[in-house]
């Protein structure tokens, strides 16, 4: 495995190997001295063409704690008018002899395209409305920590699914791990072609959150951007919160063992109420904590030279 571009690149065994290594890394994270020598001498560029605080700092810490040399670059405005092509930009960095680029880009598919132009490993740290594989892996890690094996578990993914890269990676990851998945959103926020897609890939869709909640083992609430209202995707924040938000009232409808996940940043009062976000079932802080460990594991599996047997 050279790149991590899409969750579809990983088999069930590869996902489990990354999650198992992450558990070891998670222990390291709680030591006083966190540094592992594993990636000494390796160079990682965190190339973020789009703003990010949490993902970038998480990847940066992961690299540093494994003794890699990490550099952060921001590349605003790769517009056609600027003159330099994306190819020129990334080939310039690649020519310096780096081992890996962790790419965040506002355009779907950019990491896959960059991987064709460069020799180093490419990690997709979020591309447009396409995928965010490391997020899906850390979500799976956190859910497994509470629920155990996800095979046969029922997970609902709720929110602005059309514009969510977290949705696409989680959907693939959860299906690969054998979970039962239901997507919940108003029709306007479902991804294009969801009918044939859900049929082909074997997952369910629903417009009714209350119908789905009583049977879930986990519910993942995805961020809804307020600017979607101006695009006519839904009428008001109030209507959205009442129909699709994880309100305090809906908390009671969740089975006792079920967990609540949110990849952040949260809109409290819109897709999730404060009470739900802070409830005992909530995984929100554990997701952030696991983020570094899972990314350490990803770097390890891509760079340590130890071939992952598929």
């Amino acid at each position: 495995m050279k790149h991590l571009l899409s969750m579809a690149d990983l088999s069930r065994e590869e996902i489990l190997a990354i999650l198992d290594t992450a558990a070891t890394m998670h222990e390291v994270q709680h030591r006083e001295v966190k540094k592992l020598p594993t990636l000494r001498g390796r160079t990682i560029i965190n190339f973020f063409f789009e703003d990010s605080t949490r993902t970038r700092s998480s990847f940066e810490l992961a690299g540093k704690w494994m003794s890699a040399d990490t550099i952060n670059l921001t590349g605003k405005g790769t517009s056609v008018s600027k003159g330099e092509s994306l190819r020129d930009t990334v080939k310039t960095i690649d020519a310096m002899g780096v081992d890996m680029m962790v790419i965040r880009h506002m355009a779907s598919g950019a990491p896959a395209t960059i991987a064709q132009w460069t020799n180093c490993s490419i990690v997709n740290a979020g591309d447009g409305t396409h995928e965010h594989p490391s997020q899906a892996l850390l979500d799976a890690y956190t859910m497994r920590a509470r629920l155990g094996d996800l095979e046969g578990r029922h997970v609902a993914l709720v929110g602005d699914l059309a514009h969510s890269r977290v949705l696409r990676s989680n959907l693939i990851c959860l299906r690969t791990l054998g979970a039962r998945v239901t997507l919940v959103a108003p029709p306007t926020l479902m991804p294009s072609g969801i009918g044939p897609w859900s049929e082909g890939d074997g997952f369910a869709t629903s417009y009714d959150l209350d119908d789905v909640l009583p049977s879930v083992d986990a519910v993942m609430m995805l961020r809804v951007q307020r600017e979607r209202m101006s695009g006519g995707y839904f009428p008001t924040a109030r209507e959205y919160a009442v129909t699709y938000g994880l309100t305090t009232a809906r908390l009671a409808a969740l089975p006792g063992h079920a967990v609540i996940a949110h990849p952040g940043p949260m809109n409290r009062g819109l897709e999730i109420s404060g009470e739900a976000a802070d409830a005992a079932q909530s995984l929100v802080l554990e997701q952030v904590s696991a983020g570094v460990a899972v990314r350490m594991s990803i770097l390890y599996h891509l760079l340590s030279g130890e071939a992952m047997s598929a």
Partner: protein, 446 residues
């Protein structure tokens, strides 16, 4: 610019299938066809030394190809194409006339701008370059450009289009359709409702765009404008031409409109006849084009519509781009792909090899009909005595593997690279002058 490329005072083309209507000789004298069939053979017998011969046994002779939709990029982006380089690509592709779209910098929205394009085309000399006039000033969609002055200019503009942008204001579209009737003009509409498919829309809206996370360009954004415009054409009694039709739904609307007697014509590009949206799965920007590639069911519907005459013509939408404008993430890359040099081979492969059309049909959709729509008296004429010696010889069975590096275009955004096609242009002649032969434009470096 060129070496003299008049082969001889008199040329006998022997043995070609004349536009699918049977084999016969064809005698060219000067810029005209002097005789056809047994009369040509007979007339040539007495001509002796001055007569040149061209063995075209096994080939098909078509009236020179006419493209209603070409982007030549000059003025403004001469790094991606010039009128001269695009003309050479056109000649190599079998074209003898191309319509240069107005979305240059500056925009072709005045008589002066139109005449400059026309004159540069004359100077290059490979094909007749007919400027398309903008419908609205600066393509801004606000006020009408000086349509009448462009029509009265030396360039005799008859085709008007804001191509690249849709004339989405219904009132402006209505006025344009009415206004150009005074001089027999026609408006070519880029059908794209900007509310349903905005500037970021770049992939056919469907399951694949959902999976890839690419902004969707729904079929209805085209179809709703096509429906509106055929109704405007009915209301005004004017002609409307639909550029690059890409969906089965548009075909249905056009078929219905023609059945009502509405004066609508339509074009399809070679790429929409052959390539489908599954190619986007690797995010390769060479396949980014507007309107986007559609599912294979649409490709089949477009082929059927071209064969049954619902779609009147094939037009290339040749859209050159320098590497730096294509080597971006898919969503950031420029729209468009090359088309002039491979158009005939694609039509041959998609339509003739499949048995859906004969060569007489190819002559209709690539020469006769486009020349009629644009009102070009010297093009798209049957290969008969007295007609201009403006023709294209095609080797109908020659296998071609496209090499993007081997091109007369200044750009290399060629979606056909590496693809095997069947049927190739052998020679192109414009008013008795050989403008291209075997993939080389006259006088061009190989």
């Amino acid at each position: 610019m060129n070496e003299p490329h008049r082969p001889a005072a008199d040329l006998l083309v022997t043995g070609a299938d004349l536009a699918g209507s049977g084999r016969g000789d064809l005698l060219v004298s000067g810029s005209r066809i002097r005789a056809v069939g047994p009369e040509a053979t007979e007339a040539a017998e007495g001509m002796g030394e001055g007569l040149a011969r061209l063995d075209a046994d096994g080939m098909v002779a078509l009236p020179g190809l006419v493209d209603l939709h070409t982007h030549l990029r000059e003025p403004g982006r001469e790094d991606s194409e010039t009128i001269a380089s695009g003309s050479r690509a056109a000649a190599v592709g079998g074209f003898t006339a191309v319509h240069a779209m107005a979305n240059t910098t500056p925009v072709t929205d005045t008589a002066e701008a139109a005449e400059r394009v026309y004159d540069l085309g004359r100077r290059a000399g490979y094909v007749d370059v007919l400027p398309v006039g903008a419908v609205s000033k600066g393509l801004a969609g606000g006020e009408l450009a000086e349509l009448g002055l462009m029509a009265r200019s030396r360039a005799r503009v008859r085709l008007f289009s804001d191509d690249g942008k849709c004339v989405h204001d219904a009132r402006l579209m209505r006025r344009a359709l009415e206004y150009v009737r005074a001089f027999g003009g026609v408006v070519s509409q880029h059908a794209q409702d900007p509310q349903l498919a905005g500037p970021s829309a770049c992939a056919h809206e469907g399951e694949l765009s959902g999976r890839l996370g690419l902004p969707g360009w729904p079929a209805v954004a085209e179809e709703s404008i096509v429906a509106r415009d055929v109704m405007l054409a009915r209301h005004t009694g004017s002609r409307v031409h639909i550029a690059h039709v890409s969906t089965a739904g548009s075909v249905e609307v056009i078929r219905w409109a023609k059945a009502q007697g509405i004066a609508v014509t339509a074009e399809v590009t070679p790429h929409h006849l052959m390539l489908d949206c599954e190619l986007l799965s690797t995010y390769d920007p060479v396949y980014k084009v507007n309107p986007p590639l559609r599912p294979s069911s649409d490709v089949q519907a477009l082929r059927g519509a071209l064969a049954d005459g619902t779609i009147d013509v094939v037009a290339t939408d040749h859209a050159p781009h320098v590497r730096a404008d294509k080597e971006h993430a898919y969503a950031d890359a420029a729209f468009g792909m090359l088309g002039l040099e491979q158009a005939l081979s694609v039509v041959s492969t998609a339509m003739v090899q499949t048995g859906m059309m004969g060569w007489a049909d190819v002559a209709r959709v690539m020469s006769i009909a486009p020349a009629a729509i644009a009102g070009l008296p010297e093009h798209g004429q049957p290969l008969q005595p007295g007609a201009p010696a403006t023709l294209t010889l095609v080797d109908p069975t020659r296998p071609v593997v496209v090499d993007a590096a081997h091109s007369q275009s200044l750009s290399r955004n060629n979606p056909w690279h590496g693809r095997p096609l069947t049927g190739a242009v052998h020679l192109t002649m414009l008013r008795g002058l050989v403008t291209a032969r075997e993939g080389l434009a006259w006088g061009a470096q190989s």
